[in-house]
């Protein structure tokens, strides 16, 4: 038996609905017999009547409603149809959910699922990676699972956490990533994972870019150099200690992310390493992001806009020469 990243997300939600009466799913097309634009909730409305609810096309009100329900003790999961549309709900996420605990001492346990990242042909409005934007604001936890196992356990953790969680699930990984089975337990939230052990260069990544980084590392291994690859798992909190410990071993750092280049998760990784571990570096650190343009439609443009294993391997070779 094998299970995909997408099935892991569905199974996590089924488990949550089964185990916890406070959980409900709220989003566009998630209910009925349809089960969501990507089928992440397929069959759940039938199995859990009244708890998997279709909403109007109202991202702001979807999150607002979830906040209100959470204040009354529920554990809502909001599915955005695409991460890109969560921009409509920024106000509720950043200004309402994100400020609530600080202002009132009452936390808002909502989970917002963002089908994120690029797939070819999806264009500017169905491809975005928004983890850097959400991580910038106070009051939110931002998860970016890169494996089937993490997709499963981290979603369960997200709902258990008393604070708002933005859960960025990668659409490219939905079908491309498979595991033999689902784990009963995952690593603690907030801890980065050593995805590949190496000694010559540290690549820090997350979500789909972790998979691209691992491919790049295998390529470079054929050349006799061993790259250490760290999966951040959550971009916020960012496990700086694990990153620093790796850079202490390798002396070189490359941060890889899929969001836009200005600021963001990769910039944060490099800022922290240069601030706290400048003496550990044998070469200037580097980073790779998507380009600073909207995300293009045509596959030829898209595959150049988005980082991939080849670009990562080329940058790694350059760093290893320095």
């Amino acid at each position: 038996m094998s299970v995909t990243y997408l099935e892991a997300i569905r199974e996590a939600q089924a488990k949550l609905l089964r185990d916890d009466k406070r959980v409900f799913i709220y989003g566009q097309d998630v209910g009925g017999t349809f089960g969501g634009a990507f089928k992440a909730t397929k069959g759940l409305a039938k199995e859990f009547p009244g708890r998997v609810l279709n909403t109007p096309i109202s991202e702001d009100a979807m999150v607002g409603t979830a906040i209100g329900a959470a204040l009354e003790g529920m554990r809502p999961i909001v599915e955005m149809q695409f991460a890109d549309f969560s921009s409509i709900a920024l106000n509720q996420i950043l200004n309402n959910a994100g400020t609530h605990y600080w202002r009132t001492n009452i936390s808002v346990p909502i989970t917002i699922r963002l089908p994120s990242g690029g797939t070819k042909g999806s264009g500017p409005f169905h491809s975005q990676s928004m983890e850097s934007l959400y991580a910038h604001y106070p009051g939110l936890i931002v998860m970016t699972p890169a494996t089937v196992e993490d997709a499963y356990t981290m979603l369960i953790d997200a709902v258990a956490i008393d604070d708002p969680v933005v859960y960025c699930e990668h659409k490219y990984l939905y079908y491309h990533l498979k595991a033999d089975s689902l784990p009963s337990e995952g690593m603690p939230i907030g801890q980065a994972r050593m995805a590949r052990v190496g000694r010559d260069l540290t690549i820090v990544s997350y979500s789909a870019m972790l998979q691209e980084s691992l491919i790049a590392a295998e390529e470079i291994a054929k050349e006799g150099l061993e790259i250490e690859v760290i999966d951040l798992r959550t971009v916020k909190p960012l496990d700086t200690a694990t990153v620093l410990a790796s850079v202490a071993r390798t002396g070189r750092l490359l941060a890889v992310g899929e969001s836009f280049p200005w600021g963001g998760a990769t910039a944060e990784v490099i800022a922290r390493v240069t601030t706290d571990g400048f003496h550990l570096l044998d070469a200037a650190p580097a980073r790779i992001n998507a380009k600073d343009t909207p995300i293009p439609y045509h596959p030829n443009l898209w595959s150049t806009h988005r980082p991939n294993s080849k670009v990562i391997a080329a940058k790694a070779r350059q760093l290893l020469r320095e």
Binding site: D60, T65, L71, K236
Partner: protein
Amino acid sequence: MVLFHTTENTKIFLRTSADVGYNRSMLQTARPKKKKAPTEAPVHEKYLEAFRWMLLARLFEEKLASMYRGGRITGGVYVGKGQEAVSVACGIFLQKGDIFAPLIRDQAGRSAFGEPLVDVARTYLGTRTGPMRGRDGNIHRGKPREGQLAMISHLGAMVSVLVGSLMAKRGRGEKNFIGLTTIGEGGMQTGASHEGLNIAAVEHVPLVVVATNNHYAYSTPNDREFGCASLVDRARGYGFEGYELDGTDLEQCLDVIGTAVKRARAGRRPQLVVASILRLAGHGEHDDFSYVPKEIYGEPFACDCVRRTEEFIKEHQLVDSATLKLWREDAARQVDEAFATAQKEPVPNGEEEDWCAISTRDLVDKVE
């Protein structure tokens, strides 16, 4: 090229002035009971209680404004002068188990709902003892565990939040509860308001939305705010029951809003009440509201509801003048006590803050 329509006739500002009244023919979706004849002795059973809350709010906010002018309050002061009758009617019918999501000009309603005056003083002074502990101030306050949501500045955002809270209560099998939220004609124009009102009707929650048209969004008059004849026309569009009323008339406010509350409690569709008043102060105390033309003060909706209510009480001898005097003195004493208490309490200290925006301490991102 004509970019926008202008007129020198200030009447254009006064879109709802001529036909304010709560029996407009198109609003018969839920017609409140007939108004009593003016000569008939009063009045709503809560009339006098409501007046005392209005008086308390007015005196409290006069004190606030005076402290602001004296430089004793940081940030802004936002008062509900002219809106007390509408606001008190929003708070006075709510019971334990109900949820109130008030907005900027709702001191009277907040007090009637049970917010201690000292908590208002604490929030304006930013003391550590207040509900917001100096982390947020002035009107951005609430106690969600006690049924009073803490508004954010972004207008319309609290409508859907209240919908979600009501859904959760219904989901747990609670009965006989409602939610009431307030908004202005300015706030009615945001996308969040539209989404919130629509989703309230979709979810069929026991909700009352009281929209007060005070004729100005900060300095912008009605003709640059919306294009419909009256905002209550939207009730039908959203699938609400709608009412329109003169917000300077306490009797109407109690009658209509009280009816809406009862109907929401009885499980009818969400209720939209649109009240017409004039904001008798600036947007905040920093604002001299010189943009309001003098002519508008002659309109019926420009009447001061506190004065009007007091005159009605005197005219109909609901209580004697000695009692009125006592009530005023009692309110003034409560105001003084609230500030005297809050002023003695400690204010926060940046060095002692934990600077932590999430409750899960081991997931705090440690960064300078």
